[in-house]
Symmetry: C2
Subunit: 336 residues, 2 copies
């Protein structure tokens, strides 16, 4: 049996380009005892993958290898199993290749998911690690209290939309920023953020934050970095918490943004806490239960952006890095 | 009765210059009930005062006013008192003017100190707020464990020398950096740091940290900011704690240093915590007891740099901002 795969052809120098990827056909290996063959349905493309394209990867994970398939979070269906925990026809989540099929050696990273509880693609977004990322950053680090002001950048993205809704559920006043008017309308109109702005069209981010977060910012959920972070440092209230989830504005830049207001960390006694969701993956089942409840009760809205076809995964990934997606970016690779 | 005072003549634009200060004679006011007249013995000049020279002060304190005396921590002796808590001849600590005498209205900020327990100048350094600053940053935020590596910049300064010694007492491996070979010899030879380097003469700070902190940095006590902070971000271990005490390298710069490695906060899950000692002033008496014990038992060394004469306070302050002092910079204003 064969499968199409997407491999890393070259490492990006600055912005990711289509030439960094190549499609190839590969033979599927035979299954050893414990192995599971998965046919892929949905693949996740996420900002953190940009770091894995660099030589050496990142502090918390080895990177992609030239000539080898990229890998990420996948929802698929078990096609064949030599593992007692997984049966043919099971829907599963796993860290698998960018491919139409892959083998999970010893069933590693696989987890059965329930197609009756939610659309399967949700397990890559609001009910998956992006949702858990929002939960960790907002609930464990940000800890918004009733009446506090919470600011979420990249607010309509996979993580941002959940982060803002969790803060709203906690009773905070939530302000979001995003890169199109449509995204702002979504987070305010459908996700229940109190207000929001388009960072591309406001006169400046500092001015927008003075206007939209007039009482200051108590919790900053940082997805963007750069000029966004610099402006938040100024508008932050003393003792504000910064959940440092990512800095997507900086991943493709040769010259990082020149931050000017870092000294506010000292004088305002800010708590700036970086985090990586994989340290908290033991919370996923509990998180899915709670969050499926929120969705079922109408307290939480989900936006997904689904691109069709494995061969379009590189374009979907590049578009997501540029903010062209609307909601969680997923690639559909097959039908159940 | 009259007193000499040092007033703010103008606000600095970049580096502080002698012309920002003026000496004047002022009449001492009469004492109202509750007031205490203090004759000054020692005055403290500290990095945080640079922020108070800017228009608007800093987030945690109002700034100095043009034409008004600067103020800071002072050790003096009560010359006259209309307050039952203070008697003529008491040695006191207080937030008082840069002057030879001042009146503490209602006795505000005054605290009696014991001249038998330690040289009086120590109450402005190791046994005062710089020492407490080190204690808060190292003990409450940094929390070094036995065998961890702790890095302290401005290591021979008022705060750094105490911070490093507290980490050494906690069983950590302590590396310091300072701006002269003599300062490095002091922190290694007399303060018991495990090693140290002169940041002005090493090929580069990143290279020095790779060499001196080969196992990475678990606790960073940040006094300097800029290039120092950027290098520590690279050498930090996952889950390192950054006690953000100050960024003296940046206070006089028009263009802040261009930080390149901020993304390490996310990928290494760093905890970057700003703090200001005044939030913790209730700990001072307990701190003095513990620390006086450390000194008496020979576990802690004290270095002070004493400049004579009120009129030399501006030069002592400017020299301290440039790193010309050796140990805690104090200005001696009078004899007991």
């Amino acid at each position: 049996m064969q499968t199409r795969q997407i491999v890393l052809a070259s490492r990006p120098d600055g912005w990711v380009v289509p030439e960094n990827f190549a499609v190839r056909e590969a033979d599927m290996p035979l299954l050893d005892p414990g192995d599971v063959l998965v046919r892929h349905l949905y693949m996740s493309v996420d900002p953190y993958m940009r770091g894995l394209m660099n030589d050496g990867g990142v502090a918390y994970a080895a990177g992609f290898q030239i000539g080898q398939p990229l890998f990420g979070r996948v929802i698929g269906v078990v096609e064949s199993s030599r593992n007692k925990d997984f049966r043919e026809g099971d829907c599963v989540f796993g860290m698998l290749d960018w491919a139409e099929r892959s083998v999970a050696r010893g069933g590693e990273s696989l987890r059965v998911v329930d197609p009756a509880k939610a659309p399967l693609s949700h397990y890559l977004g609001t009910l998956g690690f992006p949702g858990l990322t929002a939960y960790v950053g907002m609930t464990l680090i940000g800890q918004p209290k009733e009446g506090e002001t919470v600011y979420v950048s990249a607010a309509s993205g996979a993580v941002g939309q959940v982060a803002g809704q969790l803060a709203r559920i906690a009773g905070a006043r939530v302000i979001g920023s995003a890169g199109t008017d449509e995204k702002v309308r979504f987070v305010v109109g459908e996700c229940g953020f109190h207000d929001g702005f388009n960072y591309r069209t406001v006169p400046s981010i500092p001015e927008a934050l003075r206007l939209y977060c007039a009482d200051g910012i108590d919790v900053n959920f940082e997805n963007v970095g750069g000029a966004n972070l610099d402006a938040v440092l100024v508008q932050a209230n003393p003792f504000a918490r910064f959940a440092m989830c990512g800095m997507i504005s900086q991943y493709n830049e040769h010259e990082p943004y020149h931050l000017k207001n870092l000294n506010e960390i000292v004088s305002k006694r800010l708590n700036v806490q970086g985090f990586v969701v994989r340290d908290h993956s033991h919370l996923i089942e509990q998180f899915i239960e709670e969050t499926a409840d929120h969705i079922a009760a109408g307290r939480m809205t989900v936006a997904e952006d689904i691109t069709n076809g494995l061969e379009n995964a590189p374009a979907a990934f590049i578009g997501m890095l540029k903010g062209e997606n609307f909601g969680k970016q997923v690639v559909k690779v097959g039908e159940l």
